[in-house]
Amino acid sequence: MNAGPLASAGAGAAAPGVLRRDDLDRLLDAIRRRGFRLVGPVVRDGAICYDDISSAADLPAGWTDEQDAATYRLRRRDDQALFGYNVGPQSWKKYLFPAVSRLGVPGTADSAGAAEPERFAFIGVRACELRAIAIQDRVFTGGRHADPEYAANREYAFLVAVNCGQAASTCFCVSMSAGPRAEAGFDLALTELLDSADHPGGHRFLVEAGTPRGAEVLAEAGASPAPAGDVAAADAVTERTAAAMERSMPAIDLRDLLYDNLEHPRWDDVASRCLACGNCTMVCPTCFCFSVEETTDLTGAGGAGDERQRSWDSCFTLDHSYLHGGPVRTSTRSRYRQWMTHKLATWQDQFGTSGCVGCGRCIAWCPVGIDITEEVGAIAADD
């Protein structure tokens, strides 16, 4: 029998613990006591969104999401799983890279009125989201000029990951090597184990620590050492999720494929469907484009009265490529091509990684159901 990653973890790794579902609040309280603002998934407006939480009672117990191209619905589960869904329309960039913010370093005169930077604790970060955060880390802090706001928000962020127990039909993290198992970049990683005939023992979580402070919190929460059976069960959960994945990105060199096919007729085909609404860029956890605007405060309250703000921008807007009195990318065709080739290909040259984590949000939230894996497949079929 093959031992899964947890079961075969080396002697040096901190041993995983197990925490009963009803004791989860001990974990959350231990984190809060350290001065973190807890943010996690909640049901709101027919979706699972990220918001402030105070306890496990705020989590979407018993909910799941049904997703497909242009489709997202919440459905009741027949159990009380706290993390029995995948990803909703929001991502953690909502906090690390807010949609609108005053430019400048938090807490300095350059952003008058801003308080100390927040210390966020993200509860329920999926493997694909961990990868997306790592990708944005590279963009915002890995170059010559780091972004102070992102750096400040990210510096102390406490990440509690969750290993997915199910795959939405829109998920394709396996083919992007970004999941479903959280491998690195977390303080704690939870795998939810539901009470079942195969694995009796009550609704509980296998918890791994990924950092010393994660291990401290885990100890403070009173987790017991995880029995081998629970460790194996947790490995089985992620293996089952990986096997259930329906979509995949073709296993080819996407960079070469797209570089060689910038005039492929498929771009015309997708342009006939794409509304250039930009939803994909809003929901994508790695999209980072922003625009800078002067904002003037007539009262002079913002210091010298000359302020700037930055806000999320989308390459689907005509303004995004404005040059010499007009856009460079005038047609929807060119803008869709820009988004997809950036995400999958030119991002690699710019930042050394892919820009895509296979979370599938762009597929679910596209109003006309454009599927990035299908578009790549169509171009690859000709190649």
């Binding site: 040059l323 010499h324 856009p327 460079v328």
Partner: protein, 155 residues
């Protein structure tokens, strides 16, 4: 009624007065080509291995800059697109795009050059025809450049 390539070339004003035997030689380097509306016949920067005698429709010579597409000329029925193959440089200077459905005779540059090299009389004749075409295009371009309909330039 379908015509042979040779008959088609004979119909074209561009080759008026050319010896029958030369028309036959040229036809050996020619074939019919058809393009749908918006299809590119040739792209800027690509090797200019061919030129086109337009039979039906029109070809727009386009050049692009960020955010803009310019049509510098249209080549219609009976006219010729492409002299880079003969006079050089041997790369297309513009994009050629079909306006509406285009039927054209496509002539192969290397094939024709070889025949001109083998028979300088043919080469001289073709060179004169292309020089005439180039001169007419140049005059037209100068007129276009004057922007005679526009307001006065500064200075």
């Amino acid at each position: 009624m379908p015509q042979t390539i040779e008959q088609e070339l004979h119909r074209q004003e561009f080759f008026a007065g050319l010896d029958q035997e030369y028309l036959a030689l040229i036809a050996g380097c020619a074939r019919n080509a058809a393009f749908g509306d918006g299809e590119f016949l040739f792209r800027e920067g690509q090797p200019a291995e061919t030129f086109y005698l337009v039979r039906e429709g029109a070809v727009a010579l386009e050049i692009t800059a960020p955010g803009r597409v310019f049509t510098v000329q249209t080549v219609g029925a009976g006219e010729l697109a492409g002299f880079s193959w003969l006079i050089g440089p041997q790369r297309w200077q513009f994009d050629g795009r079909a306006v509406g459905r285009v039927h054209a005779v496509e002539l192969a540059g290397a094939c024709l050059r070889a025949k001109c090299d083998a028979d300088p009389r043919l080469g001289y004749d073709l060179m004169r025809r292309f020089a005439d075409l180039a001169a007419r295009r140049l005059q037209a371009t100068r007129l276009q450049l004057l922007d005679v309909y526009g307001h006065a330039h500064a200075g």
